[in-house]
Amino acid sequence: MKALLYSDWCVIKSSIKGYVLPALAIMAIAGLTGLDAVEPNALAISSHVHSVAVSTGIIMLSLFGFFGFFGNDEREGWEGVRLSLPVTRRTVVRSRYVALLAWMGVVLIAVNLLGAVAGIVIALVRYGQPAIMPASELLMANGAILAFALLYVAIVTPVFFKMGITKARMYVSLPFLACMLLPLLPGKEAIQAFAHGMSESVGAMGPLPLVALALVAGLACYAASALVSERIYARRSF
């Protein structure tokens, strides 16, 4: 696994520079568009900046990383040659999941640092006093976004292991489409009742435990996704 992680690391290491500017641009745009709704004080603006950095940053950079890894697989027949190394197919799948998780961890730390610093600076400049997002809100924002990212990757990765990036690219937006189409499904009364019941019990929890639960669920889905991908990848011919 070390060899495969090393190759993924070499791939992402060289592409990082290309990700930074687009991610910063998107963060800036997102931050500016939501500005009207923000209360005019230092804490609010700092929190706003920080949470924009976290939400857009994690989503964008995770996606960039994801496409970076899988994109390189199909270049010059790398995935075929990779399989000629003395590694099991299971290891190939697992190392990719580990790499993605590690990348998301790195991204998490980076965007939080960026968000915190940017928040402090902007609050200082705009309102004359530094401010930083409170810890509980910080944890919730990170937890929620991370849970969402994990769930999304868990759904999409097996598709990429099944058919490679060129064909799987089309299915990237599938989870979103599925969510949008959900209200149109027959038997939606049952789903609505289920969702209602869920939100009742979930609403009884405090926000922090809720986010913790979401995170755990996200990780569980991530692990389950790895098992599914292993089975899919074992049967592929190159």
Binding site: K2, A3, Y6, S7, C10, V11, K13, S14, S15, N72, R75, E76, G77, W78, G80, V81, L83, S84, L85, P86, V87, T88, R89, R90, T91, R235, R236, S237, F238
Partner: protein, 312 residues
Amino acid sequence: MTNVTYRIDLGAGTNEGPSVLRIRKLSKSYRDFSLQDVSMAVPEGMVVGLVGRNGAGKTTLMKCVLGATLPDAGSIELFGQDVATLSDVQLARLRERVCYVSATISYPQAMTTRDVAHLYQLAYPRFDQQEFERLCAAMGLDAPHRTVSELSRGMGMKLQLACALATNAGLLILDEPTAGLDPIVRDELLDILRAWMGPGTHSVLISSHITSDLEHLADYLVMIDDGQVVLDCERDIISDVMGVANLRSEELRHVLDTWPFEQMRPRVLRHDLSWALLVPDRTVFQQAYPDCACDRATIDDVMSFVVKGELR
């Protein structure tokens, strides 16, 4: 399926003796191509040359051996063990003694020469860093920080070969390693490969279009056409025993009427002013038909007859 190819039988060929790789009745079907009942081996300490047109099945065969492609039928034995009986982990351990060199330089483009060597060191427990450096020095590969995308084809192949030889593998599988290289670099690579064969514990399966390379390297030759093994013999038999006869029409008719060889059916090629006939034993041929002209055969000749020749 196009024409059915018939085998040229010149002895047991690669299938005799102890082998590091043995393939039995390997089959794999795609939509427009299939490997059918391919059986061959790589005897221990030997170089087996694999020849055939593009699309004949050489790469598919190699991919099946390496586990990148899953065959429909047949068995593969590596170092005496049937890979189907091994668990994933056991097979991976066994494949630490096999190294593959591909025709293209497939590593992630951003990796440097040193990164690639490090990759091999992590993947192959027996990787010998000193040996790698010695080989790099011997081949003039001295750009540790140059990225794969910046390497010329020759440098890329040298890097692959240096990495592969340094893994201390028992079996090297090379897919067209000298294609697209100038003759000087080709010679360098072949010399390094020949030197690596020295101990007698190293074996090689090499596919190539450049038959002159195989003439000076291979111990055995396996020819694949249309997904089937057409020829599997000691490489010397082609130049020492086989022959190509040039005949006029009446001579050809006479020879075909009295064809004395059981090993193969007659294969002819029509030239502008004569017929060419592939002869499995030119000594016997010259005794039987002393008035007919018969030359030594080359690997290229045999391939021409197999691919373009008429079966009679």
